[in-house]
Amino acid sequence: MQTTPPCPIARAAPGFLDPAVSLTPTVSLTPTTSAPMSPTAGPYSASGGWPTILSGANLPPVDFLLLADRLAELYEMVFPEEPDWLEEAVEGWKDEEDVAEAAARFLGRVGTLFPVHEEFWEIDLEGIEWRLHEIPLIPMGFDEWYDTWDDLKEPAPFLLHMSYSRDEGNCDEDAHDEDAHAPDSDAAFTALYPEHPVPRHLEPSRLVEPLRRLGLPEPLDALPDLLEMLHHSTGNAWLDIGELGLMEGGGYPLWDAENVVWLAEEWRKAQPTLDRVHRLLDWQNESPDALAGKLTAVRDVLLAAWGELEQEREREEEEESRGGVG
């Protein structure tokens, strides 16, 4: 599976329509949309109308036209098979809300290819412009350095606490860090999950392949996928990168045909995995007893996989020792 996007996701975005330059509000050069155009009004007239040649034409201001042109360019790039979408009229664009509505309509159509933010939190030209400059995708990976783990559904926190308590240097039982996001000690893990102890040397991220070999039933079959997502090692950018991580990493990918095709294809591949993982996360959360049963089931299959891994390691050691004797 391809793991490297054709265009690095984390990179600084150059200014596409530098708002400081192209969108500088200049009363004299922006026709008002509310006042009717005067046949005799000059460009610097008090009414803000355009010269006589524009009389009667209900045309949007140039800032809106630039965004309309960008929108049309993106339609041509992303949906070349939908030429009718370019027939959308822009004469009715009276204010920024109209422009935002047209941009949201485009993003909604993109949303059929892969997840993107379709709505605008703040309606201003600069915000709309950026949505048409960078792909406002919604990555599905975990942001374990930002998220409060308690807000995640089990067994994600269980596995995260377990993994971080296994990191070298954190096994000192006196070295418990009070910060919930910092690596735990083994003692802290045991304190958090007293009913679900696991051997100290059980490292969940090493159990991905043994877990797959177990042929687990639904929804436990998603456990290796969830482990890979938590360790950002699925090989699929949609699953390995979280939204905050993406922002921290430098920003969103730019709109270009190659990125769009790649993102759509990767999303198609990611969906079955994500569906499986959500089935596991949404399973048995309805009561403390149900949750405890879920953690027990997860812990048991981890132990089974770990047992297989240990047996495999012992066999290899035996073979090595025989080879050494021979």
């Binding site: 330059v21 192209s22 500088t24 200049t26 004299s28 050069l29 000059g42 460009p43 610097y44 355009w50 010269p51 040649i53 524009l54 034409a57 209900n58 045309l59 140039v62 036209l65 630039l66 309309a68 042109d69 929108l71 049309a72 360019e73 339609y75 041509e76 030429p83 979408w85 370019l86 027939e87 959308e88 009229a89 822009v90 004469e91």
Partner: protein, 88 residues
Amino acid sequence: MNRPTTLAALVEALTAVPEYQNPLAPLYEALGQEAASGPLTLRAIRRHTQVLHALSDQATDQAAAVNQVIVSCKQLPPAPLPVLPLGF
């Protein structure tokens, strides 16, 4: 200095200044023609993308130049004129 002559020269010079040409006029003329024959669509705007960007750049440059003149003029210390009192 002969002030009336200077003022007349100034008026003459200002009168000779060509009429302001809005850099966006050709764009709006073209789009106006599009709109006259039907709704102005994304496709129609796309047909004029080159002129749209070129002229909007010109308009932006012009606005920046005008703003620069305004800023420069604001830095001039006020001075009384022979025929206008300070603060008029």
